[in-house]
């Protein structure tokens, strides 16, 4: 494999890891606050559709982004209502949200555009433009560093850099602020937080709302950054890969970035090569596609470093009377 191919693969790794990372961080905020969320996929899908549709109609990607976040927040609100207010089963609520998004996006898409669930292709201001970082042209001729800076690091959309910046920001928010401490406490021992006079319900709703915003960004990136428009079922299991990455990262932001980059790399390799020949042993493409899930099961099994979820995860909080 030559240097240029390697750069191209790493470049597409960055692009493919971005929606995973945003969704993974979304899941992290929710689950660290004790609200399991298997509805990441549905929220991303809804956001992708709405942002694609609004960006196509208004030819303004920022309006599309806002609308996408709104759609994702709406579903997050339903999840919050079901799992916090009415103390329902969080997993069942997640399943419902995934189905709701899968059905509604096609139903509404077909009704609005009549393209079999697609939205019209985005052109011009309907998409996020690639940003050229300073000096990238000037540095381009420099060997090794030049191509790395020019081809790999520069030239992505705002959301790619945004997602990367969110990693240290999330770390700081979770582990260095009062809000973060309370959020984590609500996921480990809500009764203690309640005793301290902090509203468990409000903290959990805040976490679910953050999750909604981040899933909105992830979905909007899919429709307006990675591709030019929405297609039916375009999330294609990314919400679940993000969930896998979250477990892989043991619910920590920096590790989440590592896990998402790894899963992005696997996807990039699977996209580029049909079958990989490793010295006589041929690895089929299907194995590469299944690898994130297999790795997650292995991690969950606890053979390679045990992943322990937040202690109060999945349990509705009932105040003692």
């Amino acid at each position: 494999m030559d240097f240029l191919t390697l750069l191209q693969i790493l470049d597409s790794t960055l692009r493919l890891a971005t929606p995973l990372l945003l969704a993974c961080l979304a899941g992290m905020f929710s689950e660290r606050a004790g609200i399991f969320d298997i509805g990441l996929e549905g929220k991303m899908l809804a956001a992708a559709f709405v942002s694609g549709a609004v960006a196509a109609v208004t030819v303004n990607v920022w309006l599309g982004l806002l609308a996408g976040i709104g759609a994702s927040l709406l579903l997050a609100g339903i999840h919050g209502l079901a799992s916090i207010t009415f103390r329902g089963n969080q997993l069942i609520s997640g399943v419902a949200i995934n189905s709701l998004a899968a059905g509604l996006t096609v139903l509404i898409g077909q009704n609005w555009f009549g393209l079999g669930g697609r939205t019209p292709s985005l052109v011009g201001d309907g998409r996020f433009p690639p940003l050229t970082l300073p000096f990238s042209e000037a540095l381009a001729p420099v060997p090794v560093i030049g191509p790395i800076y020019h081809d790999l690091i520069s030239g992505h959309t705002f959301l790619v850099y945004g997602a990367m910046a969110l990693v240290p920001a999330s770390w700081w928010l979770l582990s260095r602020t009062r809000f973060g401490l309370r959020l984590r406490a609500v996921g480990e021992n809500p009764a203690a937080v309640d005793t301290a006079g902090v509203s468990v319900v409000r903290m959990r709703f805040a976490a679910v709302a953050i999750c909604g915003v981040l899933c909105g960004l992830a979905g909007a990136y899919l429709a307006t950054g990675l591709s030019a428009g929405f297609v039916k079922d375009m999330t294609a299991g990314r919400g679940f890969i993000a969930l896998a990455a979250l477990i892989f990262a043991k619910w920590r932001p920096v590790q989440a970035m590592g896990a998402c980059l790894l899963f992005g790399l696997l996807e990039a390799i699977a996209n580029r090569y049909q079958n990989i020949d490793l010295g006589g042993v041929i690895i089929p493409v299907q194995f590469m596609q299944a690898l994130p899930y297999i790795l997650t099961v292995v991690i969950l099994a606890g053979f390679v470093g045990k992943a322990v979820p937040p202690r109060a995860g999945g349990e509705p909080y009932v105040k003692e009377r």
Binding site: S83, S99, L100, L107, N111, A290, L300
Partner: protein
């Protein structure tokens, strides 16, 4: 103290949830500029207005009975088996392996072997997550989701690289021998002189599914294992105190659950397609969740809910054929049913309880 009578809990609450879900679905139809009343009429006509429609309704219902029972059995043990999709996919592989392995002389022999093959493959696919849950404490919901995706990749690999006939471009297995063709419902009903349409895929698997409903009922409420499963599901601590072994119960419940989900393949792979194709399950594993919730995890409830969803499926197909409403409408209805009967159950239950409490006080 019971807050409300048993019949209200078993019938009234699910019924109200269902009405809310249907009402919102009606609003959705209205929002896309179609007439919900006309749509409902078309669905009833298309799914229940002829024996042709009934045939398809019952064919879909057969799938949902198996996947619904699978979810229900696991629910009784306090386990949420979200992997019906993957287990049914593997069940399809089991059916295909059995049907293609031997030159079966008669369908009845092939059917017996296919049922065992489907159940064994489905159970196998549930066994790993079950063992991980029981022994290593890995959350079964996450592992079964992961196993759904792994199953899809595995099937893709097997169909493309192993089972695809030489020279075929289609990622599908060879067609099964004609001897393995299962009797269709019209042939069975014909024996007792009931005329039934012959252009629909409803087949003898329906009877197997109904038998499975009865057997699950016997298992859950009339056997020692069923008692242990329910006790374990209600309270793990109390069950352990009573000498029930958690690992064993988790394994048994999930093996039965996976086996039931796998058996769905007898209907769709052997009964209908007569070959194994990609994505033959078509979301039936997830509909099983809605069916189990709707049916309150009782086999008879599952039976009724499966027929309801069979009706929705066939009615939805008719809608897509004759109106501008796409098939995905049923996915929305399914989502709303899961939402209201499952996640938002308390939203409906609490006001109903309050009404009953008020009546009791008034007395």
């Amino acid at each position: 103290m019971d807050r409300m009578p048993k019949w209200a809990d078993a019938l009234l609450v699910p019924l109200i949830s269902l009405i809310i879900a249907f009402f919102i679905s009606g609003l959705v139809i209205l929002a896309i500029g179609e007439d919900p009343i006309a749509a409902m009429k078309l669905m009833i006509d298309g799914a229940l207005g002829s024996t042709y429609g009934w045939g398809y309704t019952l064919y879909y219902a057969t799938n949902f009975m198996f996947t619904g029972l699978a979810v229900a059995v696991a629910f009784h043990a306090g386990l949420f088996n979200i992997g019906g999709e993957g287990q049914a996919t593997l069940g399809g592989l089991g059916v295909a392996v059995v049907c293609l392995a031997l030159p079966w002389p008669h369908w009845s022999l092939a059917l017996g072997a296919a049922v065992i093959g489907a159940a064994a493959f489905g159970a196998l696919w549930a066994a790993v997550p079950a063992w991980l849950q029981a022994k290593r404490g890995s959350h079964i919901v996450i592992t079964t989701i992961m196993f759904n995706f792994i199953a899809a990749s595995l099937l893709n690999y097997v169909l493309v690289n192993i089972m695809r006939p030489v020279g075929s471009m289609d990622p599908a297995s060879a067609r099964f021998a004609v001897e393995t063709k299962l009797p269709r419902l019209h042939e069975i009903l014909g024996l007792v002189g009931i005329p039934f349409n012959n252009r629909n895929p409803a087949n003898i698997s329906l009877l197997i599914a109904m038998a499975a409903c009865v057997l699950v009922w016997v298992l859950i409420w009339h056997t020692r294992l069923g008692y242990q499963i329910r006790a374990f599901g209600k309270s793990e601590k109390a069950a352990v105190y009573a000498g029930i072994r958690p690992v064993r119960i988790t394994m048994y419940a999930m093996l039965i659950s996976g086996g039931l989900a796998g058996m769905m393949a007898v209907n769709n792979v052997m009964g209908e397609a007569q070959r194994l194709v990609l994505n033959s399950v078509e979301g039936a594993g997830f509909i099983g969740i809605a069916v189990a919730l709707m049916g309150r995890n009782h086999p008879f409830g599952v039976f009724l809910a499966a027929i309801l969803f069979g009706f929705l499926y066939q009615g939805g197909a008719e809608l897509a054929l004759w109106t501008k409403i796409p098939r995905e409408l049923i996915v929305v209805v399914q989502a709303l049913v899961i939402l209201f009967t499952g996640a938002l159950d308390n939203m409906v239950r609490m006001p109903v309880e309050r009404v009953f409490m008020a009546f009791r006080k008034a007395k």
